[in-house]
């Protein structure tokens, strides 16, 4: 044996820190249209390279190109733009409402709107999402009531969740949106179980799981891959890689693997990376993965490559851990602008229509907000009752909780 030098702990560091100049030179961005579109029943082994590339449809000139293009009509695309604009405006208003003390907390989607908005359009009634706190686009694209969402955020008397949950942890069985947990990743394995249940019953519904880049380190992620792989569950496993997990850059969770999608390879699960800021690409990949699930071909892992433009939540300021201008340097651009450019290029959109739509959306949201606020905000007006606090722990209230409710005098 030879002599060995002292070992050294390797701790990954982001390319730049506050004060530095943002630099995404190391992020390899393939040309739009350059990635092949395999048949949905392709053997996972033959398409491993999809885990290391990025499927993109919209090119720099706003054209839709390549084998993943051509799936959406003008109308569908216009609706998509409206969804993303609505989500962005909703975020802006709610962020302000939080600053005004109308609620305790808020989380926005800035820069990631395409991911959930586009994905939703690949789903059928009965399908179920198991989302994180950053997929409100699934609700908006489903036409869910903005007032209900706001009432949840305000924890007011009309809050569908009776004030029990933190803002933005929505739940809507009707719109295929599973109750969001405050605990990261837990819903990933539940999605697999839900999908297995559908298969056990011989139904046709599929499940869609959502997780952040940082949260892939959690145990539930592994369990989900193991069970999905073993039982070929009809589920789409989404990873939203927005480059950050609060203050922690994605290199800490990703480690030495090239990509998060690569995690699927060890399970024989087809794994794709998609340009998460490209509405058309997300939609196309979502359809492909959903189709696999519906045809009983099993799970698909999808890494959405995007960027969290805003703060993690209203509780942090990203200037403390990354350069202020980092989001400007993000090479995949802004999803709203990119779709808008594409629609303009298609000849169905204009500066004017855009401004007009923006104004319409703002009107709708302001009206919703007025209505929601008429039912109260966190610290003022109507609120859920103390009785609501004791209800629903069990289907039927057990004696000890009845005693406690009596003690509380309600």
């Amino acid at each position: 044996m030879t002599e060995y030098g002292p070992l050294k702990l390797h701790v990954p560091e982001p390319a730049v820190r506050p004060g530095g100049t943002p630099d995404f030179a190391s992020v390899r961005i393939p040309r739009a249209g350059s990635v092949a579109r395999p048949p949905v029943d392709a053997d996972a082994e033959t398409i491993r390279d999809l885990a290391y590339s990025i499927i993109r449809v919209l090119n720099r000139d706003g054209e839709a190109v390549g084998p993943w293009a051509g799936l959406l009509s003008d109308e569908a695309l216009l609706a998509g733009l409206r969804d993303m604009m609505t989500l962005r405006a909703f975020d802006a208003r709610m962020l302000m409402a939080q600053r005004q003390g109308k609620t305790s907390f808020y989380m926005q989607h800035m820069g990631e709107e395409a991911v959930s908005c586009a994905f939703r359009t690949a789903l059928l009634p009965g399908d179920m999402n198991f989302p994180t706190y950053r997929q409100a686009g699934l609700l908006i694209a489903a036409g869910h009531s903005l007032v209900d969402m706001m009432c949840q955020i305000y924890s007011n008397e009309k809050d569908p969740l009776k004030g029990r949950q933190l803002p933005v942890l929505y739940s809507s069985k009707e719109d295929g949106f599973f109750s969001v947990s405050g605990n990261l990743a837990t819903q990933y394995i539940q999605a697999v179980g839900w999908a297995m249940a559908s298969a056990i019953k011989g139904d046709t519904k599929i499940a869609v799981a959502w997780i952040g880049d940082g949260s892939t380190a959690e145990s539930d992620f592994h369990a989900a891959l193991v069970f999905a792989s073993t039982y070929k569950a009809p589920v789409v496993l989404n990873i939203v890689n927005n480059q950050w997990a609060i203050s922690t850059f994605q290199g800490i969770a990703r480690g030495g693997s090239g990509t998060f999608a690569a995690r699927g390879l060890g399970f024989g699960i087809p794994a794709l990376r998609v340009d998460g800021n490209d509405y058309l690409a997300v939609h196309a990949v979502a359809c492909w993965a959903a189709e696999r699930a519906r045809r009983n071909l099993g799970p698909t892992l999808v890494e959405h490559v995007t960027y969290r433009v805003g703060a993690h939540s209203t509780s942090d300021d990203p200037a403390a851990y990354r350069p202020k201008t980092e989001s400007d340097a993000w090479p995949l651009g802004d999803p709203v602008i990119r779709l808008r450019n594409h629609l303009t290029r298609r000849g169905v959109w204009s500066e004017d229509r855009h401004r007009q739509t923006e104004a319409e959306i703002m009107d709708t949201i302001m009206a919703a907000q007025r209505e929601a606020e008429s039912h109260g905000t966190l610290h003022a007006g109507g609120r859920p009752s103390m009785r609501d606090m004791f209800e629903g722990v069990y289907a039927k209230m057990p004696p000890h909780l009845r005693r406690q409710r009596q003690m509380a005098g309600v």
Partner: protein, 337 residues
């Protein structure tokens, strides 16, 4: 009616429910083809197919996690954790998810799920095949916790658990699988076929969750026990001659506080027995409740007899197990107090 072991009674409950309700599914490690390491699920895969009863990867998190998803879908999973000692990887899914899903979604999603697990010592299983973690469940609102002490109850309680709309933790004292073991490890155990509670009704019946049973009427002192400790208590009472009233709690949460209160107000004395480690065990809650609700009737301190605050040792198993000797001493001391 037929005499059955506790394992047979438990299997029978699952069989009855799988037969009645296509939404009942059963899975866990070695649960499918093999029928479980304690054989609780033997024959179920052959009878109901791999779709209803199957083997899982060794991931307790995964087992409970997929079960939560299935329950939210509308199924009624009844899953097995091979030993209670191995439930910790699933604890997050149980506590943060199963227990809170109804509440946090305001009833949009619910979790009718049963998690079965063998508990307790007495089989020389050492520290990782002997634990009794009931207190880790009773502290968690949203869960129900059940511990049967005999075949007849085990079947009725498990059926009630499977039919319950909320998550139920079903703890099976493994030392009782084959007979009413009373802690006298040096004597042969009566098989359930010689015990009246080995008489297990056919078909569907329910022992409602939240109801206790008086195993022995008495006037001198109340013993609160569950699982194997019920039999230890019976023996201790017989051996000491203390006229104890023995309440088999059966369900720890919801708890049959009325029955406890009625008995302790009558006897004025109370001894609580469990196998789990003493500190912060479920006995602490029982002691607090008895004291809170029967204070003016108490003639002696409420006493707890429990496992010591050490891991369950292998060689010193019978020094650890709170057998009839230790329980008997507590009875006599409480009578003398």
């Amino acid at each position: 009616m037929a005499r059955k072991t506790m394992i047979e009674a438990i299997r029978d409950a699952m069989d009855v429910m799988m037969g009645r309700d296509d939404d009942v599914v059963v899975f866990g490690e070695d649960v499918g083809f093999f029928g479980g390491v304690f054989r609780a699920t033997q024959g179920l895969q052959a009878k109901y197919g791999t779709r209803r009863c199957f083997d899982t990867p060794i991931s307790e998190l995964g087992i409970v996690g997929v079960a939560v998803g299935m329950a939210a879908y509308g199924l009624r999973p009844c899953v097995e954790i091979q030993f209670a000692d191995y439930m910790y990887p699933a604890y997050d899914q149980i506590v943060s998810e199963a227990a809170r899903l109804r509440y946090r979604s305001n009833g949009q999603f619910t979790c009718p799920l049963v998690v079965r697990m063998p508990t307790g010592g007495g089989i020389f299983g050492g520290q990782t095949h002997s634990q009794s973690p009931e207190a880790l469940f009773t502290h968690v609102c949203g869960l129900k916790t059940v511990v049967p002490s005999n075949p007849a109850d085990a079947k009725g309680l498990l059926i009630a658990a499977i039919e319950d709309p909320d998550p139920v933790i079903f703890l099976e004292p493994k030392r009782l699988y084959n007979g009413p073991f009373d802690g006298h490890h040096d004597r042969p155990v009566t098989p359930w076929s010689n015990h009246e509670l080995g008489e297990v009704p056919e078909g569907h019946y329910v022992v409602p969750l939240g109801t206790s049973a008086i195993r022995r009427e008495g006037s001198a002192l109340t013993i609160l026990a569950y699982g194997s400790m019920v039999h230890v208590a019976m023996t201790a009472a017989a051996e000491t001659g203390v006229d104890a009233e023995i309440i088999d709690l059966r369900t720890l949460l919801p708890l049959d506080l009325h029955a406890i209160q009625a008995s302790v107000r009558k006897t004025g004395r109370c001894v609580i027995v469990h196998e789990a480690t003493l500190t912060s065990g479920f006995g602490a809650e029982l002691s607090a409740l008895v004291q809170e609700t029967c204070f003016y009737h108490l003639e002696a301190p409420v006493v707890r007899v429990a496992g010591w605050d050490t891991p369950y040792p292998h060689a010193q198993e019978w020094d650890y197990f709170p057998g009839p000797g230790r329980v008997g001493r507590a009875l006599l001391e409480t009578m003398a107090a």
